[in-house]
């Protein structure tokens, strides 16, 4: 009886084993496919060898590839079937060791061990040592073994094991229940296991934990446990809350905020260690894109605890890497609050505004300014993050804009407006990153803030030259405008345009969309560098001069590093300035060489596509916003020289080229912020000063300044301008303004006019007309040339020469369209070939996958066969042992035969008996007859009532 049950359970066990193995094989396949799809060329060998070892187990040992398999199997058997407690424990210890040591051990454990270990965890809670051992074994089975570096694409048994374990939500709830155990190690190992599971299968675990009643509560309780457990729980919760809104809310419901802040305070705030970093990472996970949790923090605890982390206490001058990361993390928290909820949340904007208001009320600006502006000892990364945070905090928030513009820094009497200090950073910092971050503040400050712009612009008053030559340090007493002007012209003496470029960026923010400021700044005139050598020069002209200077600088030293973006920044300033501003256009065209230079720049092939494009936009603005009627600087003249020097087609082409360029194409509406995690934190803290020299070696297009400068606003301005410019130029071109209005009255001799004067006047008139005709002929010739240059058959040319200007323009437009279309065609063709090659690649891929699948299904079939065999065996075993089986039939047949024989013999005997009885009866009847008895009557009674035996008895009687 006992043996039979054992046998049954063994067979049952191996059946589940078979299904487990199948699961392993499938998991392996999953993983393989994952790495395959990920673009990594998967070595099929790994897949095959991976499950061969596993499959080998099913067939017994003849196919097994590792000795670990059988070793692990033996140990598991000892654990599940052992009788002596000590033996089972030592088996567990050995198992833990082999699993911790080798991948083969991990693989073998994954194939067979989980049911046994889970059984121990479920049934043997009282045996703390066993439970500990089981948990430690699980930890080892789930921990990747890195010390032995295998081939890159080799399957990680640890990953496979986490996948296997996390598939069953029952095991998750079992693990969670272990958190309530008294034993420290039990809780500790359990947390480690859960963290490992979360690292590899976050979604599955998040879902499982959500469905387990009080699951999250249990985890939260761990935060109040002893330190080691608490720290482990922090990490676990960080993984658990990543991008899982519902879990984030439950965690907060369970009082996460209070707990987090109390741990942060306990650990020393920003001065604390990695635990503080973990706390902040968890906090950020809870607040990221989660308006509900942000409201709860604001309404319940307030932001004070958060702000106090920013305060620099004690060792304000020393910044360890950990402190830097902690500060960066808390700055990210502010960022998340300023961003409000998720994009899809309808209440996002309201929440965002309230957060911004409350933060400013809580004086967070002071702390940010301390950190970003006044802490020279703080690492650049922290200063930059603080500056960016200031910018975000004030953007489009009227009260906060007021707050920053009225803020003063420093101590009496050496105080200055905060904005001046920030401008100084822009002009002087050696870090490009810091410049960009500080520039972001002015960008945000000027956005939809015309009062603020006007306030800044009102201080732009040129100082006497002597002031400009004052030492840099004396700018503390300067006004904002003076500092900015000095920055703009600083390059005058040494030809270094870096400061000028940065100041130009700030100025463009001040002028953006603000007519009043644009006109005001147009009127600013600067003293000539050497008063003896010339007259005062408008600021605008100075900027154009620096634009030209920047390109000549480049030509001189041959490198395009700074020159490229200096030109672009100045061009951006001019484009912003001239937009919608006829006064500025007038001022720009006041100097004849400006137009010439601009025309050259547009067709200059040695500058970048963007430089040419922006120059073209600027040129277009000279047409679009040109209200001048002076000959020589009116819109018509500009268009005319444009068509002569560049040609309309190639001019318009500059726009297209720019639009297609990398910089424009890559502009995103909002910069996505990468969350700070343990793995990324260190690198984020070390952005330090980006070396200028490194940057100059890079391609111009990658320069960080450019991506910050060509923001979404500016790009949309360019796009709007471009459309208007195209339309406007075509219009101007098609309706040539005649300089000589044909006034018939002029031909008449005026009364009181002498003949001589009349002739003179007529002559002048004719001369005027003559020159006009000359001009028109010249223009016509250029047009024809242009037409010829841009292609088109001779006949069309001839036809066009006679037709009107509007038609010519039309033809031009058509040709341009054609060109664009053919370009597009080329692009499509290229794309097509690409897609074709891709499709063939995918076909190959699919074929490979199929073959993989086939080998898998083969494996499955073999498994099934094995299963079938086993089942058959079971049947055999059930019927009483394999050897007996065939004999049964034989015995049965034998028995049947024997029985048959026996019954036949008996029958014969009976028949003989019967015969004897019959003869006896006959004899007796004869005798009775002799005696005179009625024999027939007598016999009748016998047959009916008693039958033969009675007869016999009678006879015996």
């Amino acid at each position: 009886m006992d043996a039979a049950t054992e046998l049954k359970s063994f067979v049952g066990g191996s059946l589940t084993l078979a299904s487990k193995l199948l699961l392993v094989a499938i998991t392996l396949y999953d993983l393989a496919v994952k790495s395959f799809v990920g673009g990594v060329e998967m070595k099929r060998m790994d897949l095959v060898s991976g499950y061969k070892g596993v499959v080998g187990l099913v067939f017994g040992n003849e196919n097994s590839t590792s000795s670990e398999d059988s070793y692990v199997e033996r140990l598991l058997d000892r654990i599940s079937n052992g009788v002596l407690a000590d033996d089972r424990r030592s088996a567990m210890t050995e198992l833990q060791a082999v699993v911790a040591e080798s991948k083969a051990g991990q693989l073998a454990f994954g194939a067979m061990g989980f049911p046994v270990i889970m059984g121990v965890l479920k049934e043997e809670r009282d045996d703390v040592e066993m439970v500990r051992g089981a948990l430690e074994t699980l930890v080892s089975a789930l921990t990747p073994l890195d010390h032995v570096k295998g081939p890159k694409n080799e399957i990680q048994p640890a990953l496979m094991n986490t996948d296997l374990l996390s598939r069953e939500s029952e095991s998750i709830s079992l693990l969670l229940s272990l958190l309530s155990e008294d034993d420290f190690y039990v809780r500790y190992y359990t947390l480690q296991i859960l963290t490992a599971l979360l690292t590899n299968s976050p979604n599955r675990l998040q879902e499982a934990i959500l469905t387990i009643p009080r699951g999250i509560t249990r985890l939260m309780d761990m935060l109040m446990d002893r330190e080691v457990i608490r720290n482990e729980a922090l990490l676990l919760l960080t993984y658990l809350t990543r991008e899982a809104e519902e879990i984030q809310k439950i965690v907060v419901f369970e009082g996460a905020f209070e707990k987090i802040f109390s741990i942060i305070i306990e650990e020393g705030g920003s001065e604390g260690g990695v635990v503080v970093q973990d706390c902040l990472e968890l906090l950020n996970n809870l607040l990221r894109s989660n308006a509900s949790n942000q409201i709860l923090l604001r309404e319940t605890m307030g932001f004070d605890s958060l702000i106090s982390i920013l305060k620099l206490r004690g060792s304000a001058y020393s910044f360890t890497q950990q402190k830097t990361i902690n500060l960066l993390s808390v700055l990210e928290t502010f960022n998340l609050l300023i961003m409000g909820g998720s994009e899809a949340d309808p209440g996002r904007d309201a929440n965002k505004l309230t957060n911004m208001t409350v933060l400013i009320q809580k004086k967070v600006l002071d702390h940010l300014l301390t950190l970003g502006v006044e802490s020279q000892w703080a690492p650049v990364a922290v200063r930059c993050a603080a500056l960016r945070c200031i910018g975000d905090l004030i953007a489009s928030h009227p009260k906060n804009l007021d707050a920053i513009s009225s803020k003063v820094l420093g101590e009496e009497p050496q105080v200055e407006p905060a904005l001046n200090s920030i401008l100084r950073i822009i002009l002087r910092t050696s870090s490009v990153q810091e410049f960009i971050a500080a520039d972001h503040i002015f960008k945000s400050f000027c956005e939809k803030n015309s009062d603020g712009q006007t306030m800044l612009a009102s201080t732009l008053i040129p100082q006497p030259l002597s002031m400009n030559h004052a030492p840099l340090e004396e700018d503390v007493n300067m006004s904002f405008g003076s500092m900015l002007l000095r920055g703009l012209t600083l390059g005058e003496s040494d030809g270094d345009l870096e400061a000028c470029c940065r100041a130009a960026s700030v100025l463009s923010h001040i002028l953006k969309d603000n007519m009043h400021c644009k006109e005001r700044v147009v009127r600013i005139e600067l003293e000539a560098p050497m008063p003896s050598l010339g007259v005062a020069e408008p600021l605008l002209h100075r900027m154009v001069r620096y634009l030209a200077l920047a390109s000549s600088m480049k030509n001189k030293d041959g490198k395009s590093g700074t020159a490229g973006y200096v030109q672009l920044v100045i061009l951006k300033l001019l484009v912003t300035w001239l937009a919608d501003c006829p006064t500025a256009v007038h001022c720009f065209l006041d100097s004849r060489p400006h137009l010439t230079y601009l025309l050259e720049l547009v067709s200059n092939t040695s500058v970048t596509v963007c430089t040419r494009g922006l120059a073209a936009v600027l040129l277009g603005e000279c047409v679009l916003y040109n209200k001048s009627s002076d000959s020589g600087k009116d819109a018509f003249t500009v268009v005319d020289s444009l068509s002569q020097k560049i040609g309309l087609t190639s001019y318009f082409l500059k726009f297209d080229e720019m639009q297609k360029s990398f910089l424009f194409a890559s502009v995103k509406p909002t910069q996505s912020h990468k969350p700070l995690t343990r793995s990324t934190a260190a690198s984020m803290a070390e952005i330090e000063d980006v070396d200028e020299n490194d940057l100059s070696d890079q391609k111009n297009e990658d320069h960080p300044i450019l991506s910050s400068m060509l923001d979404a606003h500016f790009v949309s301005l360019i796009k709007r301008l471009e459309a208007d410019i195209r339309e406007n130029i075509v219009e101007v071109y098609s309706r040539p303004k005649s300089e000589v209005a044909v006034v018939p009255a002029e031909l008449e001799q005026k009364s009181g006019e002498g003949d001589k004067e009349y002739i003179k006047r007529l002559k002048a008139f004719v001369e005027k007309q003559c020159s006009e005709i000359q001009k028109l002929i010249g223009r016509n010739a250029t047009l024809a040339e242009d037409l010829a240059k841009t292609g088109g058959s001779g006949s069309i040319q001839a036809e066009h020469r006679t037709s009107g200007a509007s038609e010519r323009v039309q033809a031009e437009t058509l040709r341009r369209d054609l060109q664009e279309a053919s370009q597009r065609l080329e692009m499509l063709k290229a794309e097509n070939t690409k897609i074709e090659s891709e499709s063939s690649m995918y076909q190959n891929l699919a074929a490979k996958m199929e073959s993989d699948l086939k080998s898998l299904s083969d494996a499955y079939n073999t498994l099934e066969q094995a299963n079938f065999h086993l089942e058959k065996e079971v049947k055999a075993l059930k019927s009483g042992g394999s050897s007996v089986c065939p004999d049964v039939e034989a015995i049965k047949a034998e028995a049947r035969e024997e029985a048959q024989k026996e019954s036949e013999v008996e029958l014969n005997d009976l028949l003989v008996c019967l015969g004897q009885e019959q003869s006896k009866v006959e004899r007796l009847s004869a005798r009775l007859l002799e005696l005179g008895e009625d024999v027939d009557k007598l016999l009748e009674g016998v047959g009916d009532d008693m039958g033969l035996p009675e007869d016999d008895e009678e006879e015996e009687d």
Partner: protein, 211 residues
């Protein structure tokens, strides 16, 4: 931000009975005739006064749909009060009360105060559940009962405040161990603003010395 006590509430009941509207009326004094279906759980907060003591209410409004039940159940245990809402114009929402109650009894702490609310009482002409039936159900199951309207704001304040008053009385009677936050009750910091320095141990002490 200072409060004597903080109570955690949950609002439960069938989908569409007006849970979110009750919360919005209570926190923002607004009524939104068309409200999006609540996904998961939404949060709201308000300060009220009971017995001259400032009391902070943290309210979690749950999704009524069956598919969110496993999520919303996570909020039962840590809540001090629950508003169980049905719609007086939809009989089935009343009929489901028993199962909601069973859920609450199973997952919440035993001392949770439950307020039964028959919402939409402004729609008297479409009434499908009588006031008496509501009263009867509440009486049978030991709940507080009120009919309210999130639209007209009738009884909305009262419902939230009466629940708080009941919890407050339970605290005075010593039913709760207020140092254990798992009952959904937290002792505040009296008049001292800002919770930054507070730890749990210290806070229960500070609760007594209001300034």
């Amino acid at each position: 931000m200072s409060y004597a006590y903080l109570f955690k509430y949950i609002i439960i009941g069938d989908t569409g009975v007006g849970k979110s509207c009750l919360l919005l009326q209570f926190t923002d004094k607004r009524f939104q005739p068309v409200h999006d279906l609540t996904i998961g759980v939404e949060f709201g907060a308000r300060m009220i006064t009971i017995d001259n003591k400032p009391i902070k209410l943290q309210i979690w409004d749950t999704a009524g749909q069956e598919s969110f039940r496993s999520i919303t159940r996570s909020y039962y245990r840590g809540a001090a009060g629950a508003l169980l809402v049905y719609d007086i114009t939809r009989r089935e929402t009343f009929n489901h009360l028993a199962s909601w109650l069973e859920d609450a009894r199973q997952h919440a702490n035993a001392n949770m105060t439950i307020m039964l609310i028959g919402n939409k009482c402004d729609l008297a002409h479409r009434r499908a559940v009588s006031t008496e039936e509501g009263e009867q159900f509440a009486k049978e199951h030991g709940l507080i009962f009120m009919e309210a309207s999130a639209k007209t704001a009738q009884n909305v304040e009262e419902a939230f405040i009466k629940t708080a008053a009941t919890i407050y009385k339970k605290i005075q009677d010593g039913v709760f161990d207020v140092s254990n936050e798992s009952y959904g009750i937290k002792v505040g910091y009296g008049g001292i603003p800002g919770p930054s320095g507070g730890r749990d141990g210290a806070s229960s002490q500070a609760g007594g010395c209001c300034s």
